[in-house]
């Protein structure tokens, strides 16, 4: 099958790539654009390791085709930290040990960031409900919830 030319914006930068229609956005991000922060877990929309923001909406990148990104905006974990330092969520995950092996962490960071944008001061239940599509097999989740709560406080919501 012929490859499709795709122009998209990733973390504010315009990117071009050639993709086969069968490549997911996750594969394109990792294999064509070499943005390997977004992780592959289940590859069927259950685990949330590949959570990215696609045209303003939190999605699993494994459940989007790369060719669908044409003309769209994609935000990945690589866009969170700035030259000045880590994003408050990243800092809070470090301080509260919201990660162990780290595979799920980019997805949790992206999903948590989307939560705090729409709900700057979420309750514990709201955090757990929002993050239900992100699986972690190390932390038992409590440390992740605490990390999000801390980041919310630092970011001025609480």
């Amino acid at each position: 099958m012929s490859k499709v030319h795709v122009t998209t914006t990733v973390n504010g930068e315009e990117k071009e790539f050639l993709a086969e229609p069968r490549q997911s956005l996750l594969e394109v991000l990792r294999d064509e654009l070499h943005l390997t922060g977004t992780k592959e877990g289940c590859n069927d929309g259950n685990c949330g390791a590949c959570s990215v923001v696609f045209d303003g909406t939190l999605v699993c990148a494994c459940c989007v085709l790369g060719v669908e990104a044409n003309g769209k905006r994609v935000e990945t974990v690589e866009g969170m930290a700035t030259r000045e330092g880590l994003h408050p969520l990243q800092q809070a995950f470090l301080e509260e040990t919201g990660m162990q092996c780290g595979i799920c962490t980019p997805g949790f960071l992206m999903a948590s960031n989307e939560l705090l944008k729409s709900n700057p001061n979420p309750s514990e239940q709201e955090i757990r409900f929002w993050l239900a599509n992100n699986l972690c097999r190390c932390t038992g989740y409590d440390k992740i919830v605490k990390s999000v709560q801390k980041a919310a406080a630092v970011m001025g919501g609480a």
Binding site: R22, N43, G45, F54, C60, C63
Partner: protein
Amino acid sequence: MHSFEFSTPTSVSEAVAMLAEQGANARILAGGTDLLIGMRAGRLQPGLVVDAKGIPELLEYQLGSDGLRLGAAVTCRTLYDDPGVVEGYPALIEAVSIIGGIPTQGRATVGGNLCNAAPSGDTIPALIALGAVATLIGPDGPRQLPVEAICLAPGRTALAANELLLSIHIPAPVANSGACYQRFIPRNEMDIAVASVGSSVVLSADGGTFESARIALGSVGPTPIFAQAAGALLAGQPVSDASLQQAADAAEAAATPINDMRGTIEQRKQLINVLTRRTLREAVSRAQA
């Protein structure tokens, strides 16, 4: 995943022309939360994937005095993020808020849930209870079918190979009406219904008598089931525990579940009985509010 061609039509007529040429070799991509998973698993192998999201009217929805008209590619999240839809159509909101997690709800569409035709599709019993009508379009123009006539078997619909779903229309709630959708799952969330029920009722002005009711069942047959007789027997009856129980027994009789990894026949029939009573009770209290 197998190789396929990808096209992004920008009008309905362009999409219809593609389907007319490709027929069953083509699949419509709306949210992709079922299609991409099915293709990755090898269950679906279309030669052409037609992205519905380049067609503006499939992405639009109108909330007006005649009801809610949903373009086929409107996402679950779009609906529950709209306070007007949340207020006017709580049974639909109950269904779209429990399909997968937040990232799935941001992509998954009501139209896709209907066309995927899973017996457990959460929006389908809610749509049937609400009296929703689907508009399909093919080379000969549009036609309308009530939602209960869309699903024919697991994964199979009444849509011809050269037709696509254009929109779903849910009539505006009439006075003294209410509706509710509930499912049973063994987890707290993010699971597939073991059994589910959507109910809608219209009551007399004093709220004491049923004028009409519609009840639909999920996960207890090869398709979602419109339990027409169960709803019809409520017409003219007083709102009481006895009348709710009669409807629940009739709904249970309409259920034809199987034993599988998610539940047994016995459990599912019992669940239909309980969920019918609960959804009717909630629909009644919404109608009386």
